[in-house]
Symmetry: D2
Subunit: 324 residues, 4 copies
């Protein structure tokens, strides 16, 4: 953003007022009149309030790269559930992978009783190794949908392949794009064409702008609504699996008026820290949480070490007000 | 950490139990008996509980690099205030720089009434540019100490130079090492020699181990206690000044039993996000917050855009229970 | 890697010999005999030479996660061209996007005369914004193939969508997976099924292991050979578009015996630094370069600012020995 | 940088010309006349050549934050040696730590014969752990100076503490600031006061601007010249100790006309990759290299695993033209 001053304005005074608004100001030299470059880590300010400062002639900004995302309501509707700033936090839980019909049904029963609204579970799994379990696919989708319906839950599940969109969308209420696919344009386009609300996880090195543009792909190609999900970015310390960016979680609802949820399980990858970061995410403004849980993590087909045990999850949900 | 199996143990069964404990397990081949490498993003587990698993012969670990930090009590005493897990959150607030006697006295009066326990303010300022305001130095220390004493507050202030330790320590109750100096060994040694509790900010690219080792320098050279402070690490998105790592904030009290506070002002650098991240920090387990505030940010000599206005700070402190 | 010592061995002496081999050594305590953890930033050492050190009982390592990649020959054949350590450097050049039949033919003619062996050009473009030019698709593939055939060049082009694999593979000699899709498993599987050599660009936050595992997907699902391409990872300084990791470029041929090329155009994103980093990439051990060029960058449909002008490219190729 | 257009200019045409210059252009809306924001990853362009584009009214830029660094000659003189773009590459070598009088003399004799011009060796060592060897201090300085004088070498050594500046400067021809201290203002000021040329290593998370500002501190406070040293920044892959940024190494001489050398030993931390990255650094435009070497790495008091053996160093120096 550039603030252009009027001829004869007092730059020092204007600068003070801009800083009072929470802006980081860099004076520019060589223009026809004095100008200030406003750095991106500045507080969001209504253009009108800056134009109201005496001595400010104009405020020049790039055109938004994501007009549809900008126009999306802050609170979105996914089935019967409202999700976004102001709405009660929404809890999504379930195993990393859907492992069997019995497993997912038992988990769904328990979660429904604990106040969870959305059942998660991977049918098609994106895996770093080609030798790792890749999901039970179509069968798992059926088990997942059946378990959710039996216990009054909605379904969140991930689609990996444009050729599977119809299949996955038929089982999902909220269609998930994983972080490895945040910039997979053919998948975003195909998934959006299913006309279901979408959950877009942030890529491991994605800037906020790149993340919002992934959402823009979805809205442009037919999705009725996008919910964003922060799940940790690549960090340099190996004590946690990823680095949870709660600054981004505060930014989306406050500055962009967008719903964002947090997946603390993948963010830290360690069960002992999941409750603390769940609380922190809600406190930062997350509209909900996506939590991994498993009855017997040692037998989980993926990501067992980060799954909460049923009792741990129950306690956490109770503390955070699920089901109220 | 390495888990060594007994001859004849069933590796698959032991692996399941380790995963049940929240451990990420990598089998090793070529040893005299089967061994598992436990990856660092695993949940903390008592060595005894792992040795209790049938089939586990031994658990081999590196000797801790920071025995004094390990032995420090979880809750430390700074003057009349207890700081650490379990104690009520402690609030440290004040301007970025101590700008005048009048300024700091007026702020101190207000903060004391709002439930703040520690007054912060820079007398010697570490600045990226040699042309930026470097602090009012010795005079500012006197004003700061005077204002704190007048209003019943303790003082936190930063020391930059080993030659200033005596001077700064005489005015400080909690002696701050800034993030630029986290690995400045001569300064850590000299400051520790003042025998005051120390506040060690995390460096911008410091791992948890490097941060704890900075604390180890302090305890080894005479500091009675160390409080850690997370203030954001270097990130790749320019929407916030730095990237706040609340995973580290959860880790210190839970896994290392150490007191950690958070400086959300430097972490995000934008006033509009400071309240959300303050709440999140406390929810993640921070023992306290360090907050920048200014009556007229436009006239601040440093970091005005990130300073909370007095009313904003008051509201936030009230919400977070300061002074109760 | 873990080095297990014999009972009675002198740990200090064994440690010295390990360090002489270039290993970073961390002693472990609590095992049945002394053990050393070897840190990952250690020099590669043949297992046999470590077992030959007096006092070493065993060397325990994880099983390789990518056996097919490990077994791939260091030098791979793509059409008439050998690519890998020891073979002459291979030059791939062309525009970011294939813009018209005339354009690509004119460029191909020029490149062939300059010693380039592979023509690059995007027909399907992965773009951060849904409003950016997405490529001329099937028509562009035909123009690209025609231009290459007319001038005796091979073709490298990117496939984005599993449903386009047959089409793109029919036009390509080397099938490119872009960095946004490095962990897009359905695409890797589908593309590998075309049984063409593949070029796998590194993801923006991918570790070496994750990158090699992407290659493993390709070999497992039918690709005859994989060439890796470093194109810069996400950095924190905005002076360059990305951060070129030439440590990784040295690592692949030296330690893993794998062919790696470098795309300096995307790595730095600025034309003025491309020649210097091209020289550096070859010096670090790259088997080739992928370079963007355009006659009129101002009219380019994508990435004009980073395209070399024809004369700049010609000079650089001459200097680096293209066509000899 | 902002490019302000004349009333009535054709923005599309001006944009094309700017892209032809290698600039990334973002149109701004809302100003009195059309303006373009030029993104920082753009090629360096003389202001005059942009003002020469028809339709460009003005080019507005921030005032440089480091005027003294900007004015420093590209090639600096350190004793008898010229260092910078155009001058022959300069080789600095020696052990990590000065361990004994005999050791450093033997190494100096060998290095002098191999064409090395500068002897390096730590007398005061910055160490992550307070229990690690901290250097032999004053005695080591004497041994280092003696060895250098005996064999016709100049001395580079690090100063850690403002109180040691006089002592260290009396032994050094080029006074080194380590990466941990790049933003240690009191040290920069004190060291600059010794009026010796300084070598400023880049901090592990320092931007280019922050690095240049560290150099500005030095020139402002009395240093006659500053040489910069890239030694790797913090990365996320553990295969190498740090992440060598050769983009920065190309940038300094080309864009800022400043001398930069590279320390590949600390950058990768593994002996096997040091030669490849040494070649790459010179190819990228480095004015010289700083290399660690040791006769018996297993007995080194610090960083043995990354030290080149004498024969390896000799071969590398010969290949790179040392002593010619």
């Amino acid at each position: 953003m550039i603030v252009v001053l009027e001829q004869g304005a007092d730059p020092a005074r204007v600068r003070r007022e801009l800083v009072d608004h929470g802006l980081w100001v860099v004076p520019l030299e060589g223009g026809p009149t004095p100008q200030f470059l406003i750095e991106p880590q500045s507080a969001a300010s209504a253009r009108e309030s800056l134009l109201g400062i005496a001595g400010v002639a104009a405020v020049a900004t790039p055109r938004s790269a994501h007009p549809l995302i900008d126009a999306q309501p802050a609170v979105v509707q996914v089935g019967a559930t409202r999700l976004g700033p102001g709405a009660p936090p929404v809890f999504i839980a379930g195993p990393c992978s859907v492992e069997s019909e019995q497993q997912i049904d038992a988990i769904a029963a328990r979660l429904a009783a604990q106040g969870v609204r959305f059942l998660r579970g991977g049918a098609f799994k994106p895996r770093t190794s080609p030798y790792a379990f890749q999901g039970h696919g179509e069968a798992a989708l059926g088990w997942l949908r059946g378990a959710a319906d039996a216990h009054g839950l909605a379904v969140v599940t991930e689609v990996l392949d444009p050729r599977d969109v119809e299949l996955v969308a038929s089982a999902a209420d909220l269609l998930q794009i994983g972080s490895r696919n945040m910039q997979n344009a053919p998948l975003l386009r195909a998934a959006a064409g299913a006309h279901k609300p979408m959950l877009v996880k942030r890529g491991m090195a994605a800037t906020i702008d790149e993340w919002l543009l992934a959402g823009e792909y979805c809205l442009l190609h037919g999705a009725p609504a996008v919910v964003f999900c922060e799940r940790g970015i690549r960090g340099f310390d190996s004590s946690t699996r990823n680095l949870l960016d709660l600054g981004a979680v505060a930014l989306l609802p406050q500055v962009y008026k967008l719903p964002v949820i947090v997946d603390p399980s993948h963010a830290v990858g360690r069960r002992d820290l999941v409750p603390a970061l769940s609380r922190a995410a809600i406190a930062a403004g997350a509209a909900g949480l996506m939590l991994e849980t498993h009855d017997e993590p040692g037998r989980a087909l993926s990501d067992g070490p980060q799954a909460l045990l049923p009792d741990q999850l129950g306690e956490l949900l109770l503390e955070l007000g699920a089901g109220q």
